[in-house]
Structure formats: structure tokens, C-alpha cells
């Protein structure tokens, strides 16, 4: 249900004129809600930015998410790859 809540809040913020991106851990739910921009990450629920106390991984995920902010061909659902730098 968290993914639906995120998508609904995200829409309201985007509608107010702010560019948004969200993290998704459950592709199936995000595909149904279709928020403007989402980065699917291959981690368990509760681990949006990958691993606790792993600043490097967390920063890589943030950069990948922020890169989607440039996209206007919404809805965008990209996948974060652990192999990507």
C-alpha cells in the first residue's frame, strides 16, 4: 500500500508545480499507479536506498533517481542496475 500512497502524494506534488521522482520496490504496484517518474530498485521492502550505512550505494541510487527528473515523457519507470556506476 505504501507504493500507492507514494504515487498519490507524488501526483499531488507534481500537480502543484514541483518536479518529482520516487523510488519503487514493487514494480507491479508502481505500474498500476503510474506516477510521473519512478526508479525501480532491486532491494527488499524497507530498503529504498539499498543498504543501511552504505553512503556510496545510497548516493548512486539518489543520482540515478535525480537523473530521471529531466524526463518529460512521463510516466517513466526506469530500473536501477547495481552494475551501473
Amino acid at each position: 500500500m505504501c507504493h500507492q500512497s507514494v504515487g498519490l502524494i507524488q501526483r499531488a506534488i507534481e500537480y502543484a508545480g514541483i518536479t518529482t521522482v520516487s523510488i519503487s520496490l514493487l514494480r507491479e504496484i508502481t505500474e498500476k499507479i503510474r506516477p510521473p517518474r519512478a526508479l525501480f530498485v532491486p532491494f527488499p521492502l524497507g530498503y529504498s536506498l539499498g543498504e543501511p550505512n552504505n553512503p556510496d550505494l545510497q548516493t548512486r541510487i539518489l543520482r540515478a533517481a535525480f537523473a530521471l527528473l529531466l524526463r518529460t515523457d512521463v510516466p517513466v519507470l526506469e530500473e536501477f542496475s547495481l552494475a551501473s556506476v
Binding site: C2, A16, T20
Partner: protein, 167 residues
Amino acid sequence: MAQLEDIDLTERLLLKGYPFHRYSPRLNDPVSMAMTPLRKPLAASTVALITTAGLSLADQPPFDTTIRMGDSSFREFPGDISPQALEMNHRSWAFDQTGILRDRNLVLPLDRLREMQARGEIGAIAPHHYSFMGSIIGPGKLIKFSAPEVAHRLVADGVDVALLTPV
């Protein structure tokens, strides 16, 4: 990787039978179709964080885990707090809470934003950030009141970019 199969049976059955299509984008609902292009480079943008992890500060009332259709309220945090000062109160046991308890940056990465700001990757950290508690089965109040209210506050704070994280 998280899959529906990881979630306990009760919650999974709820997700399987839940009418998500009711909340899919619709042409006659401008909120669901909204798209705001980035107006300035990220390096000049003010960034806010919003999570549904059910976080609150010690002097704020925790989320109400007993409301059947879900607590649609939100908590507001100043941008200069340590994320580790936040307490977590989430009614869903569908996820492993131990990671967030070790490091709140997993859902509210204020420390990472500070580093990115210091390196010039983002312009500024917003004066306020927000948490909801995600398990909202009946999202009527969320859609009508609390989500637009947070959006309004973000606009008032001059926020350019919002990052949202589930749990």
C-alpha cells in the same frame, strides 16, 4: 529484489484483490496526469524528501496504527535535523524494519543530500521534509486533504524537486 510473494499472505491477498485501477491515471483527472518539467538545473534546485515510512520526531504524536483504513496524516521535519533522531511507527509488518532502524537515510536521506549539496550536486536542502505512514487502504482523505496540503507547503518553501520513498 522485492516481489509480491515476499509479503505475508494476508497483506498479499489484500494487494491482489485491491482495486488499484481505481487510482490509475485518468484523462479527466488533471492531478493524475500532471507533469512539471524541471525548471532549473539540479545543481540550482531546492530538494525536499517525502517518505511513507511512518517517521516522527520525539515531540510529535506518532502515527495512529489503529485506524482501520489507515492514518492519512503527515509529520513535518525541519531540514537541519539528524535523520537518526526520527522514530518509526509503522503498522505494516510486511517489510523488514531493521534497516531503517539502523540508518534512517534508507528512506529519508538527509545526510546524503547534505553531502550532495556540499559537492554542488544539488542547490539547497528544503527547510521542511515530510513523512506519512503508508498503509493507507482508503486514500480518500490523503487525495483530498493531506497530499495537497504537503504540496502547498512545499510550494511555499520554494521547493523545486521532491524525492519520494516508500518502505
